[in-house]
Structures are given as C-alpha cells and as structure tokens.
Subunit: 359 residues, 2 copies
Amino acid sequence: MKIDGKAYRTIWRAGPAAVETIDQTRLPHELAFRRLDSLEGVVEAIKTMVVRGAPLIGASAAYGLAIALSEAGDDASLAAAYAALNASRPTAVNLRHALDDVRAVVAPLPPPERGEAAFRRADEICEEDVKLNRAIGEAGFKLIEAAHKASGRPVHVLTHCNAGWLACVDWGTATAPIYLAHDRGVPVHVYVDETRPRNQGASLTAFELGQHGVPFTLIADNAGGHLMQHGKVDLCIVGADRVTARGDAANKIGTYLKALAARANGVPFYVAAPGTTIDWTLDDGHAIEIEERSAREVTHIWGRLADGRVAEVEIAPPGTRAANPAFDVTPAELVSGIITERGVSAASKPALAALYGRG
Amino acid sequence: MKIDGKAYRTIWRAGPAAVETIDQTRLPHELAFRRLDSLEGVVEAIKTMVVRGAPLIGASAAYGLAIALSEAGDDASLAAAYAALNASRPTAVNLRHALDDVRAVVAPLPPPERGEAAFRRADEICEEDVKLNRAIGEAGFKLIEAAHKASGRPVHVLTHCNAGWLACVDWGTATAPIYLAHDRGVPVHVYVDETRPRNQGASLTAFELGQHGVPFTLIADNAGGHLMQHGKVDLCIVGADRVTARGDAANKIGTYLKALAARANGVPFYVAAPGTTIDWTLDDGHAIEIEERSAREVTHIWGRLADGRVAEVEIAPPGTRAANPAFDVTPAELVSGIITERGVSAASKPALAALYGRG
C-alpha cells in the first residue's frame, strides 16, 4: 500500500544478503526504515517490535534465517539461527511455521547453496502472504460493494486494532477488502477504534489508511456502540489471532464488545482471517488462554510531545494496579461470517470444514 | 471521603466570604487546593474544570453567588453574578437549579443580608447533596451486601467514568454503595474503566478509591466484556447524566457497551442516580441529544512525564480526524435497576413513577 504516494511493502530485499523494513516503533510519529543485514539485527527487530504482526514476523524470521545462512551455511549455524529466531517472540505461530518451512527447504542442500535458497523461499513466503491477503480482500470486497449498491452511499466500516498491511507484507486481512474497495472507486469510510491499551488503531491503522488515502475517523473504543445505535456503521471487519473450528474468534481485547453492539443493532460483524488462523483442534473459544500483559501498558501511554519528541506519560495515580488481558474471544454466534482466502464462510463448524475440505 | 487518611469534602467554607476546593485539573498527579474568594474566581474554576461533576458545579455556583453578594448585595449585582455563573458551563442542569434556588432565597431580603443568607443556603445545598448520595449508598449497599452473603467472597464491582465523591460534595452516586460497603467491612473490589477519551476513571475514580483504601484494579475500557465472560464481575454500578421516565440512562460514552456485556453474561447492571436526574418529560432515550466534544480529546492525552511534569502527548498521526461523542444511552431493558435515594427501582415507567409519586 502507499506511503507518501509511493507503494510499499513492510519488508523488501536490499542487497545480496539484507532486507529493509519500516521501523514500526516510530509510527505514526516518524517514517523510518531499518536495514537488517545480520541475524542479531533481525532477532532484535522482532523482539523490540520494529516488525510486528504475525505474518510480518514470519516473513522477517524467514529472511533472518536466509541472512544467517548466507554468512555460514553449516548445520550448526542453521540450528543456532533457527533457535535464536524462534525465541525472539513467544507466541507467534507464523514465526515457527516460517522457520520450519525455510529449514525444510535448505536442509537437504549443500551448505554453500543454503543462503541463496533460503532467500528464494523467504521471497516466496512473502508472495504467498500477499496473495492470501489479496484473496481475502476479493472476498470481503464483495460485501462492501454489495452494501454500497444497496444504499447508494459510502460504506462505513468499523475496525478494531491493526489487522492492516503493516501487520502483514501487504494488504492486511481486515483492511484488504477496504483497500480494494477504495482502489476500485467504491466509496468507503472507516471508523478506527484507537484500541487501548496499546493504541494500534490510533497509531498504525490510522497511519496506513491515511497514507493510502482511505477516509477514516478515529474514535475512542467506547464510541462504537453509540455509533451503531445511530445507524452510522454499515459493517464491522476485524482480524483474528485464532479462529476455532466452530468459528469463535480470539482477537484484540475489546473486539467482543463491538460484536455485542453489532448484534444488538443489526450490523453485520465479519472476521477476516486466512485458513492458517483456524485451530482445527479446538471448538470452544473459552478454552483459549488469554495473554495477560504488563500493567504498565494501561497506566502509561506513549505519544508525541508538542516539541516533536516521543515520550511516555502516566495517566493513573502512582502505584495503580491494573489488569491487562490482551485478547478476548467473540463467540461464533455473534460473527456474521469469516472472510477467508477461499471466500466468506458462515462461522460454524460444518461451513468452515466444508470450505477447507475437512468434512 | 478520605485523602491521605484525612476526611475531605470537595468544597468547604474558608473564612467569611470564601470557599476552598480541590483542584481537580491537577489530579491524580498532585493534590492541590484552590481558594475561591471572588465571583471571577468561581466562574473560572467552573469553566476550567477545577471543579467538575454536576452536583459539585451546582454547589460551587451557589457559593459563587454568595461570594458575589457578600461584596455587593444589590439587584444589579445579583443579576450580573447569576448571569456570569450560569454561563460558566453550558449544559449542567444542577448549575441552573442551584442558582435559581439561592436567588429565590435571597431576592426578598434587603441587600445587606443577602450575602450571609446565600452562604447559609449554599451550605444547605451541600448538606442536601451529601444526604442524597448517602441515601443512594444505603440502597446500593444492600445489593453489595446481598452479593457478598450469597457468594461468601469479595464482591467485584465494575464502574465506568467518575460518578464518585469528587463529582459531588461527598460519597458520589455510583461509589456511595461501594464506600459504605468498604467502611462496614463488606469486602469489595472495584474494576475501574479508564474511560477514554478523558480518562476520568484512571485519573479520578482510581485516585479517590485508592485514597479511601478501597481495593481496585484499573482496566482499559476494552477489557470489561472479557472479565464478565469469565465471571470476574459480580455487578456493574454506573452513574447517569440523565435518566428518562422509562429508565433509559444517558451516561459517559462506553456505558452502553458494558451494559450489553452485562446482559450477555448475566451480570446485574445498575444505574445510581438521584431523582433529580430523572427527566419526566422524556421516555425514549434516543431523543437525548449527545454532545460532540473536541477531536483533540481523542488524539491527545494528558499525563505525567517521568520527570514529574504533566504534559500532553499526541497518539495519532498529525491531522487525524476524530469523532468524540461524549455520552451514550443505555436502554432501560439492559438496566437491572436504578439505585435512587428512595431505594432501588426497576427501570420502567410505572416503577419510577410509583417511587416518586407521579402515578
């Protein structure tokens, strides 16, 4: 998608054994790039969230392995690089998948050929991610187009957190239908939940939509129910970290509240997620363990001071105890459909199983 | 209630023609007091939210009139002071009520006696507010006590925004039952919604509960639904800016989302509000006009820097457009009961009318 009028991906090749990324820790206050040309550099970029979002973490890790193998392709180096990258973030399943994928490709090769082969495979992983999200976009585009044809007005989409192209290689999941609609001239406007406590909506989704030229309005997470009561939202599209076999969806904390409001006010509520997000071993989303993150994310907020410097402010009395569950689970009964790369599925076990040939 | 172990009200007499207040613009970062001894000082304190909360604004305005009349008690001075105070905040109905009340008392008196009479009436207005909230506390206390008796465990109450003693003269509305329970040894713990965009939960409710010694946990507004799904909330108690004749409740934006989650998870949802909050002329809460406040409240946040200074940071890309509806309306069907000074009423027209003898 575009930044300052120029098309970008979140990660790209930059020389024979290096990649470049957007430093997402600086957004939305500064557009800075980070050249990654060592294993240590990639590990540090993942750890410090210079790159974030499960698909982008996976792509970055694949390149990290390629960079390491370009320097030394022997088995010991492969094992060490795999271990270092795999430990860089604890829970991202894409990270492990990407590492396993690249290792399987390079392991049978003679060490001197492994670096180049790993780079080729990492490139493919990126292309596959782009293709996947674009297919989600096509499926979701039809929903936005239909809403526009039905009303003749711009379509107002509410989204939560950042399931955008900055979390992927391009397009995003929840945002792909929005970008396609915008690029094809279907008028679309997005209500962006700021998404406390980490504010990924205010900092990342607002940045990427604004840079690509998609009209949006930032709102406090509290406002969505009121907007839906007053007919100002045509549909909700959110991402998901995990979807169960029956269609329960774990996503950023607060998603569930918007799903309740959507149901109460007759607003369709869609979860955009590729098939790789579906956990076929699990039916009941209540069983998903929810990460409890640092209280400091609730009591402190990062932002830009009037003089341009970025600083952290504390918003609560010193010593305040805070709880910070990072995700919640929206039960399938509140989900109008799952927008996948294979089309829109009902949020039900039979429908999802049929779509993915697991009947 | 207590601060640093000492009992406070939000406003008190400080000499023959002056009052003192807590400067709420400095909370929770600093406990500072403000002496108000001129009409201009009171008007400025209301305008700049040194004092805030409808009941406290009313009490402050009453004292403002008294201070003005102590200086000059003639009709022209009375009219000018009334006009200046009435214009200090646009929508607070208590402000107008308090001014009308004091004016009615002093108008028949000779000018030299008006100042002292106005102070006496302002004192009474404060005492009446304290009595009203304490009665709400007694009614709500029974709910907390019953929940504790039923479970044998501490009672977990979720509240939104600040309907606390800092908004009133003492006790608060939503907090009065909590303070009574705590003071009487019924174990109670409060989940405090931070209440974006103005963070009254994180700054004021967290401060007042913490200072009085009530255990609490601050949460992002997004977290309440998840907590209710997992049985961590026993009841919700919120305040209200206006309650319609049938029990629809206008309160701080985001209240409605918590009411939806409470209903979906079988958690009782109570609105604590005195009879003076009921608008008998209105049934359908959808007709309540919702104040749209500055976008800057969404895009910028105040807090304390590491060096102790208080500063504002911007959390969104420069120029971000934001919507900021300040209130939402929770329909009566989601309200388990209205906790009033006359007891707990069903949120229905017949029940409220019967309680207030308007059948």
